[in-house]
C-alpha cells in the first residue's frame, strides 16, 4: 500500500511540470496554432499524470473509475475544441506564424 501511495505521489509530482510548461507555452509561443499545441498536449498529459497518481492512491474502485471518466471527458473536450478553434482560425484566414 505504501509503495502504491509513493508511486502516486511521484506521478502527481511529474504531472505538475506539464501544466506549468503548458502555461509557459501559452505565454511564449508566437501564434494561435502553436499555442493550441501547448495547451492541448501538455495539459492533458499533466492531468493524465495527476489522475494516475490519485488513482494509485484511491481506496475505492469507483473513485478510480470516476477519475478515469473525468480524464477521458477532458481529453475528448479539449481535442475537439482544439480542432474547432483551429478550424475557425483557418477559416478566418489567420496565417500560421513561420520562422523566416
Amino acid at each position: 500500500m505504501a509503495f502504491l501511495h509513493n508511486l502516486g505521489t511521484i506521478c502527481i509530482l511529474i504531472g505538475i511540470p506539464f501544466f506549468v510548461s503548458g502555461t509557459i507555452g501559452l505565454l511564449r509561443f508566437p501564434d494561435i496554432y502553436t499555442r493550441l499545441h501547448a495547451l492541448t498536449k501538455a495539459d492533458n498529459v499533466g492531468l493524465g499524470f495527476v489522475v494516475l497518481g490519485l488513482a494509485l492512491q484511491a481506496e475505492q474502485w469507483n473513485t478510480v473509475a470516476r477519475l478515469l471518466l473525468i480524464w477521458l471527458l477532458v481529453l475528448v473536450a479539449s481535442s475537439a475544441s482544439c480542432h474547432l478553434v483551429a478550424r475557425a482560425a483557418l477559416r478566418k484566414k489567420i496565417q500560421p506564424w513561420s520562422r523566416s
Binding site: 471527458l73 475528448v76 473536450a77 475537439a80 480542432h83
Partner: protein
Amino acid sequence: MTDAMGIFDIMLALVLPWLGWRLLASPNLFRAVVLFISLGLLMSLAWVRLHAPDVALAEAAIGAGLTGALFLSALRRLERLRDSERRLDYAEKREEEQNLPPEKRRKSKPVAYVLALFLLSVFLLLLGGALLKTPVAPGRLGPAVAGQMGQSGVQSRVTAVLLNFRGYDTLLEVMVLFLAALGVWSLTRVRQTPQEKVPGPVLATLVRLLVPLMITVAGYLVWIGSSRAGGAFQGGAVLAAAGVLLLLANVTVVRQIPSTLLRWALVLGPLLFLLSAVACMSIGGNLLEYPRQSAGSWILLIESATAVSIGVTLAALYAGGRPHEPAAREAIVDKSADTKVKNGEGA
C-alpha cells in the same frame, strides 16, 4: 503543512476582485466575456474553499458554462447590429488607437477619478458600517437546522432548507424562472437558423458523446442532492447545457420537437410543485408541510420535475424566443419519439 493552502486562499482572494475589475473596465466586449468565464471558474474554486459545494456546483454549471455560451452567442448578434463599432480582433483596434494623433487619443480626466474614488470610499464606508453592525452570530440558524434534520426527509442540510424548511422561497424562485421564460417567449420568436448548416463531423460526434453523458450526470446530481451537494438547480443547469449544445450544433431533432411538448416540459416543475404544496394542505398540514414519513419521496419527486423544467427553461432562455410550430406532418412522425425523450429526462 497548511501554509500552501493559506497562500492558495490569499491568491484566490486577490485575483478575484482584480479579475472582476478588469472585466468591468475592459472596453473590449469579447475580452470581458472571456474574463467573465474565467471569473466563473475561479469563483467556483472560491466557493469550494468557503465550504459551499452546492454553490460551487451551480457556479460551475451556470456561471462558467451556460452564461459563457450565452454571452458568446450574444456577442455575435451585437456585432451584427453595430458592425462598425465593434471589432473582435482587438489587434486591429489597438493599432487604430496607436495611429491616432496624440490629441485625439483618450485622455484621462482627473475629476472623474476623484469622483470615482470618493464614491468608492463612501461605498466601502457604508459596507464596513453594515458589517460592523451585523451581530456576530445572526440568529444561530445553523444549529436550528441541524436540530430539525430528522424531520426533513433528506440528509443534505442545503436541500432540507431549500425544499422543506423554506420550500416557499424555492417555489417562488421556480416561478420567477418560469415567468422569465414566459416573458422571453411572449416577446419574440426564436431565430431560425438555416437548415443547410449541419455541424461538422467533429462537432456532431462531440454532441453525440456529451449529450447522453450530460443527461446521466444531471440525473445523478438530482439524486445525490438529497444526501450531498446537488439538486434540482444543479441538475437542471447540466440538462440545460445539453440543450444549449444541441442548439449550438443545430441538430435537426431539436427543431422537430413539437412546441406543445416544450410547453408542458416548461410547466411541469412549477405545476407539480404547486400541486404538491396544495396537496399538503388537503392531507392535513400547512402549505408545503409534507407528511413526516414520506417527506423524502415528496422532495425527490418535486426535485426531479423541477430539474426538467429548469433545464428546459434555461435552454429556452438561451434559444431566445418561442419555438416555431414545425410542419404538422413532421410533428406527428416525431411525437412518440420526442415524448419519450422528455419523459425520460423527467427523472
